[in-house]
């Protein structure tokens, strides 16, 4: 009987759908939300939520620039957002429909200013840093007790890397993350885009290239957790996920995440509404729903990334708000830098350089 009832309910829902129920199409990063929030939104608003995921900014940007994506809410990273705004891909938000905006955190608002001045087009969803994930046991075995776990020396000093190559090192396959790190290592401005600085950064990367097992932007989570590699330069939340997976597996692997003490890249994933969104009204409702303090806290508690919502902080679990790797203290926060997007010509130089670093051609 139960089955028949749910069957009937499903049929009714289908009928309702056919009759043109309101829909909102959301395109977010994979593994980036507590999925029970999606049901909650549907129940609260009566809108059908169609939730779809992607795993690279480039993919999202290509869809945005091609136009007609059919999505109502998308989540590009700050630098990508800025470029897509100037391409005319997003519409201005209507503040009157976003009362929960008062929950947002001014510190993060300020930091995202360069990408979206005044927050006219976007709201912050999550943010994080790019840094070093290390298998404590293997790294100290290779480099000794005083191994520089929180310094770029670990990954950019060829002497260290030569020893670490025995146990395996992964770098992100993302020049926009690796080049600023190499520039920071050299003491240069991480946001430099002139050819001279980029060439110096290339030299740093080429010197350690022989010791890098792989350039990849997601495999390191598993590889770190399984103990296949001992060091990865990657995104904070991903490395924390690896840490938790290793802890759950009780395989003796202990992972730590450290933002480099020389300075770490801070990035922001922003929610925005495409210019040609079929349902901007529903999109605003979704943004407002996400900015609710408890909803945002639920998302952060689930994915272990910090958010830009001040009011949500009282609802965060202690292992999220209390973890300096997720919510850095004042001092570390001051040490985080942001970068601006590359222009088309600079981007070409960068991509070409990256191919040269990776493939030797």
């Amino acid at each position: 009987m139960q089955h028949k009832l749910t069957g009937a309910a499903a049929a009714l829902a289908l009928l309702a759908g056919a009759a043109g129920a309101e829909e909102v199409h959301v395109y977010n990063w994979s593994d980036y939300i507590d999925e029970s929030l999606l049901d909650k939104f549907e129940q609260e608003t009566g809108i059908d939520l169609v939730y779809d995921v992607f795993d690279s900014n480039e993919l999202l940007e290509t869809k945005m620039l091609a136009g007609g994506s059919g999505y109502d809410v998308v989540v590009p990273t700050g630098t990508f957002l800025q470029r897509q705004i100037s391409a005319g891909a997003f519409q201005k938000l209507d503040p009157s429909k976003l009362p929960n905006r008062e929950n947002m955190w001014d510190v993060i608002q300020e930091r995202t200013e360069p990408y979206d001045p005044g927050g006219e087009y976007s709201i912050n969803y999550m943010w994080g840093t790019t840094g070093i994930g290390a298998n404590v046991g293997e790294v100290t075995e290779a480099l000794g007790e005083d191994a520089p776990l929180a310094s770029l020396d670990l990954i950019f000093d060829p002497e260290n890397m030569k020893k670490l190559s025995e146990c395996g090192v992964h770098f992100l396959d993302a020049p926009t993350e690796m080049i600023p790190a190499a520039l920071t290592y050299l003491g240069l401005d991480p946001d430099s885009k002139d050819e001279e600085s980029l060439e110096k950064a290339e030299e740093v990367l080429l010197a350690v290239r022989p010791y890098v097992q792989k350039f990849h932007s997601s495999e390191y989570i598993n590889a770190l957790a399984n103990g296949d590699i001992c060091v990865a330069f990657g995104w904070s939340g991903d490395i924390l996920q690896a840490r938790d997976r290793a802890a759950e597996a009780e395989n003796g692997v202990e992972i730590v995440y450290n933002p480099p003490k020389e300075g770490a890249l801070m990035w922001f994933d922003q929610m925005a509404i495409p210019t040609d969104a079929p349902n901007p009204e529903g999109a605003h409702k979704f943004l407002n729903f996400i900015m609710d303090a408890q909803n945002m806290a639920a998302a952060s508690n689930y994915v272990y990334y910090a958010n830009g919502n001040k009011a949500s902080q009282e609802y965060l679990n202690e292992d999220v708000i209390g973890d300096p790797a997720i919510y850095p203290d004042e001092e570390t926060l001051d040490n985080l830098y942001t970068v601006t997007p590359f222009g088309p010509r600079e981007q070409r130089t960068l991509t070409r350089m990256w191919t040269r670093i990776k493939s030797g051609t």
């Binding site: 690279s56 480039e58 993919l59 940007e61 290509t62 945005m64 620039l65 091609a66 136009g67 470029r83 100037s86 391409a87 005319g88 891909a89 396959d173 792989k214 350039f215 296949d228 210019t275 088309p344 981007q347 070409r348 991509t351 070409r352 191919t355 990776k358 493939s359 030797g360 051609t361």
Partner: protein, 296 residues
């Protein structure tokens, strides 16, 4: 009228599925990159009438094609793709021919089953099959475990993320495309021709070389084209199984399109790839036709 309709159908097909997409890509390859939706200019504005058409055509140039000659990355990637395509086609042929031959030689009641077995892998998603190769070839993978267990090797082999893995992936994926046309050619082979050859003093091996191989030539050629052409533009297999040192034009295209957001240069790369493939094929077919006419 009927005759006209019969000719029109394949031409309409060619027009809709080849020529129109080709012209769109060609048009983009002659445009310039810009930050907008879509990310190139000029776009054709028909509402502006004659003026619109004029500004459109004056905006086109071959800049993107000349750009491709300024960097050795492109021709190196083309050459490397051609080499990988050619070697994999050769391996696929060597593996596929005996299988097709065996199928054609088997008892007729077995053939539908064997045919089914060749097609069976297509029932699983291509992506899943390539992923499972990652599981087989990795350092802790099934293959290495097995070889270590047999004692053939004492250190695990590094196969994943090398060109070898790319060859294995391509040969595995495209094998059915080689087997099927060769099988269909061999199946039609008239046995009495082989008997005649043996009656006239040929050894079995010689009869195979002089009769079977030449008669299955159309199947071999079709199979080689079906493997070689998609293998050259392959993107998924090298990115999943190959290391960062495996340079292929599909990857270069992806980078131009997604990382550089440069649709015009990406289109120019695609047009050159098409020319590299289509010109030899046309020449080859011409030659075939001439030969056939000379024989006929």
């Amino acid at each position: 009228m009927r005759r006209f309709a019969l000719i029109a159908i394949p031409y309409a097909w060619l027009l809709a599925l080849f020529l129109v997409p080709f012209l769109i890509v060609l048009k983009i390859s002659l445009s310039d990159i810009t930050l907008a939706i879509p990310p190139y200019e000029p776009t054709l504005d028909l509402s502006a009438g004659w003026e619109g058409l004029k500004t459109f055509f004056s905006g086109l140039d071959f800049e993107n094609f000349t750009f491709l000659t300024t960097d050795d990355l492109y021709w190196k990637a083309y050459l490397s793709s051609l080499r990988i395509g050619a070697i994999s086609t050769l391996i696929t042929l060597c593996v596929g021919y005996p299988i097709a031959y065996g199928m054609a030689q088997s008892a007729p009641e077995w053939r539908p089953t064997l045919l089914m077995l060749v097609i069976l892998p297509f029932w699983t998603s291509f992506l899943i099959r390539v992923y499972s190769w990652m599981g087989i070839l990795s350092t802790e993978g099934v293959l290495n475990q097995f070889l270590l267990w047999t004692g053939l090797i004492s250190e695990p082999l590094t196969i994943l993320n090398t060109p070898t893995a790319v060859y294995i992936g391509i040969v595995y994926t495209y094998l059915p495309f080689m087997i099927l046309p060769i099988y269909s050619a061999l199946e039609k082979l008239d046995i009495s021709l082989l008997e005649a050859a043996e009656d006239l003093g040929c050894s079995r091996l010689k009869a195979f070389w002089l009769v079977t191989i030449p008669l299955s030539r159309p199947g071999i050629i079709a199979g080689c084209f079906l493997v070689f052409i998609p293998a050259i533009g392959e993107f998924v297999i090298p990115s999943l199984l190959g290391g960062s040192r495996t340079l292929m034009i599909g990857k270069v295209l992806w980078e131009e399109f997604f990382n550089n957001r440069d649709w015009p240069v990406a289109s120019a790369v695609a047009i050159i790839l098409l020319l590299i493939l289509i010109v030899p094929i046309i020449l080859f077919q011409r030659n075939e036709q001439k030969q056939r006419e000379a024989e006929g």
